[in-house]
């Protein structure tokens, strides 16, 4: 009862107890006086408002008969109500109803305190007798649909200026490629371990587990080979991404599988890369077999996907006692091959190293046999790479790399690298070829929550308002304002790696992998000028450039200029550019 302290009137302590329920005439009279005064002041003041006697008395009761405070409160309340009356006529009757039902003191105090509208409406909805809340409820019921729409508020950021403002380290992706068992995963595991991107405890765990199944030398590779099948077989199957930081750069490793069956996955990885690290097994015989196999195919693939710079890690040098002539021999053979593949000599770098022992990876080797090598270590070579600019101001394009269940809060997430454009939380996006819309609830850049993302970044988007059935890896995310077209046939200029005939092929673009057929060989072209040499050739020989028409059974989101790879029978037959 402490809140019944009376300020303006001196009260007998004796009167206090029974004074609440049956107010004495003296108090009543005083109340009447104050009420009239408040009403007068309200009418006279600017802006002029009217209030009922009941309202005034209620206010007076709360402000302990302080006339000035009551007037201020009522004036504020009334002006707000008249303002609200124009768009929403509901609150006025609500206020009246409230007054007539005699609200509890708490309610009114809260009313006075809360300025937020949402709070108020919630409060009125809690009253069962309230007519307005019933009306609101039916209205709400009408708004309910079977599909629950989640509204995500956009911050309406100017992403491009945010991007320019942000003081991020330069970020780069690189793909690790090479023949199977060249030691790609192990080398990258070593890099991560030495840079402390992975803690010693985890590494020790992997080591004991690997030894348990008799594959002790695979422990480092397990950092990237997370799949159970990959570990059991000791072969990388799918691409793995992992990031590490040096002083001024954030690198994302895209570790590609080397086995020929998983070249589609390697293509997906290489399409996310700015530059490539080609790992070569320097062991006797292994280098030679690799060069015939995936060393060659991978190098050609990354080149045809637009990668310019390539670092060649001549791995397992410890197995040949760091012999310089072996290194020179490999360097000479590989660089001549890479030059013919279209790499410029200044963009090729060779590093002799050993993934298993860690020599020349992050630290210079102390082995006396390596004293002949004065060049940079692998990590120094990585850092020497110039960053690439991305088309951030172009329309949004992102190829979905993976569709998965992120967590309980984010039941549907997609990940991938943004090819072009920018996006932010709350944006509506369009997926192709399904043509369905989705809203971005939240997003992560390199595993860190962010409000926006731009081209070149590796992002995870948590989506709402879409059925997962419409999302498949290989689909393309774009905006409804600038959608990517779905096509069933396209013309492209390709470099043939194998004989081309009108035949069935697999079409690859990043994660996208669809069957199709070469329906027409339009012409063979001159490599330099692009002029047509022979129209309608019967067959296109390896090494020649040709214009061909490819048809597909299903519509696929593709647009020029996109780099595509054509494969048949497990081999890459051609790669080129859409026209």
């Amino acid at each position: 009862m402490s809140r019944h302290r009376v300020k303006a009137v001196s009260y007998d302590e004796d009167d206090f107890d029974d004074g609440y329920d049956s107010p004495d005439p003296e108090e009543q009279e005083f109340l009447q006086q104050c009420t009239t005064e408040v009403l007068n002041q309200l009418r006279a003041g600017e802006p002029s408002v009217t209030a009922t006697r009941d309202e005034v008395q209620e206010a007076l009761w709360h402000y302990y008969n302080d006339v000035e405070k009551s007037v201020n409160y009522l004036r504020n309340k009334k002006t707000k109500e008249t303002k609200k009356k124009q768009p929403v006529p509901a609150p006025a009757p609500a206020a009246k109803a409230k007054a007539s039902t005699g609200p509890s003191p708490d309610d009114v105090v809260l009313n006075a305190q809360s300025s937020a509208k949402g709070f108020k409406s919630k409060q009125s909805a809690s009253k069962s007798g309230d007519k307005k809340s019933q009306a609101g409820l039916t209205e709400g019921l009408n708004n309910l649909s079977v599909e629950e729409k989640v509204n995500v508020k956009s911050k309406n950021l100017d992403v491009l200026s945010e991007y320019q403002k942000s003081q991020r380290k330069k970020a780069m992706n690189f793909a690790v490629i090479g023949h199977v068992d060249a030691g790609k995963s192990t080398l990258m595991g070593r890099l991560l371990a030495d840079l402390k991107a992975i803690d010693q405890r985890t590494l020790d765990k992997y080591r004991t587990e690997a030894e348990k199944i008799g594959k002790g030398s695979f422990a480092l590779a397990w950092v990237l080979d997370q799949g159970s099948e990959e570990r059991a077989r000791g072969v990388t199957i799918d691409i793995a991404t992992n990031k590490f930081e040096t002083e001024n750069t954030v690198f994302t490793i895209v570790d590609a599988p080397g086995h020929r069956d998983f070249v589609p996955n390697m293509i997906a990885g290489a399409s996310q890369a700015d530059f490539a690290v080609l790992v070569i097994d320097s062991g006797t015989g292994n280098f030679e077999s690799g060069l015939k196999g995936q060393t060659k195919e991978h190098a050609l693939l990354v080149r045809s996907m637009g990668v310019q710079r390539i670092i060649i890690a001549v791995n397992k040098m410890d197995s040949v006692q760091w012999a310089q002539d072996r290194f020179d021999e490999i360097e000479q053979q590989v660089s001549s091959f890479l030059t013919t593949a279209g790499f410029q000599a200044k963009n090729i770098a060779f590093v002799p190293c050993s993934g298993i022992s860690g020599d020349n990876v992050t630290r210079r080797s102390e082995d006396p046999n390596v004293s002949w090598y004065k060049g940079r270590t692998l990590i120094e070579e990585l850092e020497a790479t110039e960053p690439y600019s991305h088309a951030v101001d172009k329309p949004l394009r992102m190829t979905i790399g993976d569709v998965f269940r992120g967590s309980v809060q984010n039941p549907l997430s997609i990940s991938g690298r943004m090819d072009a454009g920018s996006l932010q939380v709350g944006d509506q996006i369009l997926t192709m070829p399904s043509g369905e819309k989705a809203t971005i609830r939240s997003l992560e850049v390199d595993g860190e929550p962010s409000d926006w993302a731009v081209a070149g970044q590796n992002v995870t988007l948590n989506l709402v308002n879409i059925d997962p059935i419409h999302l498949r890896s290989g689909d393309v995310i774009c905006r409804a304002s600038a959608p990517i077209a779905n096509v069933t046939s396209f013309t492209c200029k390709v470099l043939a790696f194998d004989h081309l005939l009108p035949s069935m092929v697999d079409i690859h673009r990043g994660r996208l992998h669809v069957p199709g057929r070469i329906s027409q060989l339009v012409a063979t072209l001159d490599k330099v000028t692009g002029a047509s040499i022979k129209k309608k050739p019967k067959i296109v020989a390896p090494g020649t450039v040709a214009r061909i028409v490819v048809e597909m059974d299903q519509a696929v989101p593709l647009e020029a200029p996109t780099r595509i790879v054509l494969r048949a029978g497990g081999e890459t037959v051609a790669a080129g550019l859409l026209e």
């Binding site: 997370q226 799949g227 199957i237 993976d402 035949s503 057929r517 497990g570």
Partner: protein, 403 residues
């Protein structure tokens, strides 16, 4: 297919009565029956008769109807053939000229008549038709080699039945399997769900009895080929084994007939590679399919070598035949049976005469590939006709013709 009666005259006209016995025979019938032929088969027709008072009664009556074929509709998935045309024989219930669609049924005879018109309207039983008839009539009963193939990759499986003359895609299973992610992820879970769905679908298509009582039944199980790049097929086999040893013991009957082979991708056109693998060859020894695939590979090999001893495309092949390059001593004309299915009589005649010429005059070999097989589809991509030549032909002159 059983040949009941054969009355083909020397001039190529005549009738043949056949009894289809298995679903694939419908495919043969589809190739044999051409527009303008006369087809006689049993039919059920709903007949509506009007009484004098104006009231109508309709009844289903069983009739023997003879129709002049206008159109064929073949559903390879369910092996059903619907032939529509106008009725030519008069019965108590139908009038001449009314339309009817005959549904050919298994184990019910039908009679096919081909006519040779005076003005060359019909083509009659030409050499190709006779050859097809021979193929269709299974005399030795020795070509039952059939297999089921599951061509798969992560999240994608094609279940298809490989028959003597056609490959039927029965069902495609497509699922989104989460990729491997840092720190576990749902990849393994996704894969086992994918395997489960694929196995369920496969068993449904095989009409495989999974009752435990069926474990002892002697019903033959067709060979099941599991093909994939990488380890998906092997993983699927392991999954079937684990299901067989835990929940569904009846699956043990299936296990011995499973063969795991390698394929380049999970798409259907990888089937060619599957059927060339040694493991499969031993099972499906000397099927028409395997021979056809081999032939196509030889042809492509010649093209690759750029010996100019192989050519493709209608014009090029005709020109090669004109030059006598498709003759004795290794000349092979490879032609897709899609060309013979042409609605245009002149078009068909063109190809039949080409075939006859190569076989009878030039002395070369002729191989008709089924367009419903993978090899035939490859051939279709090349224009439906190709040839291996006895001597190299430089095709520069042909190119000028094109322009």
């Amino acid at each position: 297919m059983r040949l009941i009666k054969n009355k083909i005259e020397h001039n190529g006209s005549g009738t043949v009565t056949l009894c289809p016995e298995e679903p694939e025979d419908m495919w043969h019938a589809y190739n044999l029956i051409r527009p303008n032929d006369l087809l006689r088969a049993s039919a059920i027709r709903r007949v509506t008769s009007t009484q004098e008072t104006g009231s109508t009664t309709s009844a289903r009556v069983h009739l023997m109807l003879e129709i002049r074929v206008k159109n064929l509709d073949f559903d390879p998935q369910s092996s059903q053939l619907h032939v529509s045309g106008t009725i030519v024989n008069e019965t108590a219930h139908t009038k001449i000229g009314q339309h009817h669609t005959l549904d050919l049924e298994l184990n019910r005879n039908f009679t096919l008549e081909k006519e040779v018109g005076a003005d060359g309207e019909g083509v009659g039983w030409d050499s190709i038709a006779v050859q097809m008839l021979k193929d269709a009539v299974d005399e030795g009963g020795n070509r039952r080699a059939e297999a089921v193939a599951v061509v798969m990759q992560e999240g994608l499986a094609h279940i298809c039945f490989i028959g003597q003359f056609q490959t039927i895609l029965k069902q495609k299973v497509e699922m989104s399997v989460p990729r491997k992610r840092h720190g576990g992820g749902d990849h393994d879970k996704g894969m086992s769900k994918f395997f489960q769905v694929t196995l369920d679908t496969l068993l449904r298509q095989l009409e495989f009895n999974t009752n435990s009582a069926a474990l002892t039944s002697n019903e033959a199980v067709r060979p099941v080929l599991l093909a994939s790049p990488g380890f998906v097929a092997a993983g699927f086999q392991k999954y079937i084994q684990s299901v067989a040893s835990t929940t569904t013991p009846a699956l043990k009957r299936l296990l011995p007939s499973i063969v795991v082979v390698h394929s380049a991708s999970g798409y259907l056109h990888s089937l060619a590679e599957v059927l060339q693998s040694p493991a499969v060859k031993t099972i499906l020894a000397d099927t028409k399919y395997a021979r056809e695939t081999k032939l196509m590979d030889d042809f492509l090999e010649q093209l690759r070598k750029e010996t100019n001893k192989a050519t493709y495309g209608p014009r090029e092949v005709e020109s090669a035949v004109d030059q006598g390059a498709v003759g004795r001593g290794g000349g092979v004309l490879i032609i897709s049976n899609r060309l013979f299915r042409s609605q245009d009589v002149a078009e068909r005649k063109r190809w039949v005469s080409l075939v006859d010429r190569v076989r009878d005059i030039e002395g070369g070999e002729v191989r008709v590939l089924s367009s419903d097989h993978e090899s035939g589809r490859r051939l279709d991509g090349l224009g439906g006709v190709a040839a291996l030549l006895t001597f190299p032909i430089v095709d520069d002159d042909i190119e000028e013709d094109d322009q």
